[in-house]
Symmetry: C2
Subunit: 148 residues, 2 copies
DNA sequence: ATTGGTGCAAAGGATTTGCAGTCTA
DNA sequence: TAGACTGCAAATCCTTTGCACCAAT
């Protein structure tokens, strides 16, 4: 089952079910972390997750956040999005989609596959297998006109 | 002028001309670094450049390599390619193109725009301007079959 | 009991920065 | 000579690791 079939936001029970489906033992801190990611489809850096999960009271350590996000990504529960050299984002939207990245603000937005198509991909060398095709549209803020 | 109109490999004089065109003062080490990048179209990490430029004899420090690559990218002479969370690649191919990245080997290969097309991009918000559209095809080595 | 998970602090690697010395125009 | 550019080392930032403790089966 693809978790996108479920309803957002995921409740605590749904999150536990989700982890289990992906072969991840649902421990306290893993559920806490997943609970944040799956509140709604979003992109977060490890640091944002750390801050957010410990907002009410410190429950999860930095190392655990990194380990957990790494685990989630490895299991296919979330996706790493690499658009900024300074940090990795983790994406809880499991539907196929692409990204729009604002270089100035660091804001990352989904582009649904919708009618966006990539055509004419070259043949792959015979010794490799495709892992994914990603389209990244980079934008920056429109500069304020100095001379209108 | 787009530097891709020139001939590869760029000779030392052509490199100096190139830097000048891009408003970059052609100092000794900048020319050395650019000389490597523009020997042929390629992707290199800062570390690779550092190693390569100092192959014959140490001429450039690590800090200068980073600063210089940053400057080149800022001036539009080369492009940053962000496909690996562990390092940034710098791309001396100025023609529009996309990338094929082998996660296992870390090898990065160009995909000429040729017949590859991206269609159906959504409209951009009014307050931003497009900086570039990039397609990244990620592949990994075909696993050795344990049970053929 | 055994296995797996977590926290903490220390280690690591990539990149940046501060500052004094050096080069260029 | 003034302004730019470099080198070096120290400083940062993000991320991973080592290891002892805790939790669940």
């Amino acid at each position: 089952m693809e978790h996108s079939e479920r309803q957002w936001p995921f409740g605590r029970q749904a999150v536990i079910g989700l982890l289990t489906e992906y072969g991840i033992q649902p421990t306290q801190q893993r559920v806490d972390i997943a609970g944040i990611l799956f509140d709604h489809p979003q992109h977060m850096s490890a640091d944002q997750v750390l801050t957010c999960v410990n907002k009410s009271r410190p429950t999860v350590s930095k190392a655990t956040v990194y380990n957990t996000l790494g685990l989630f990504a490895e299991k296919g529960l979330i996706r790493q999005v690499i658009v900024d050299p300074n940090r990795v984002f983790y994406d809880s939207n499991n539907l196929e989609h692409h990204h729009l990245y604002n270089i100035d603000t660091g804001k990352l937005v989904d582009i649904p596959v919708g009618h966006l198509k990539v055509e004419g991909l070259p043949e792959l060398p015979h010794d490799v297998v495709a892992e994914g095709v990603e389209v990244i549209v980079r934008v920056r803020n429109k500069p304020t006109r100095l001379f209108p």
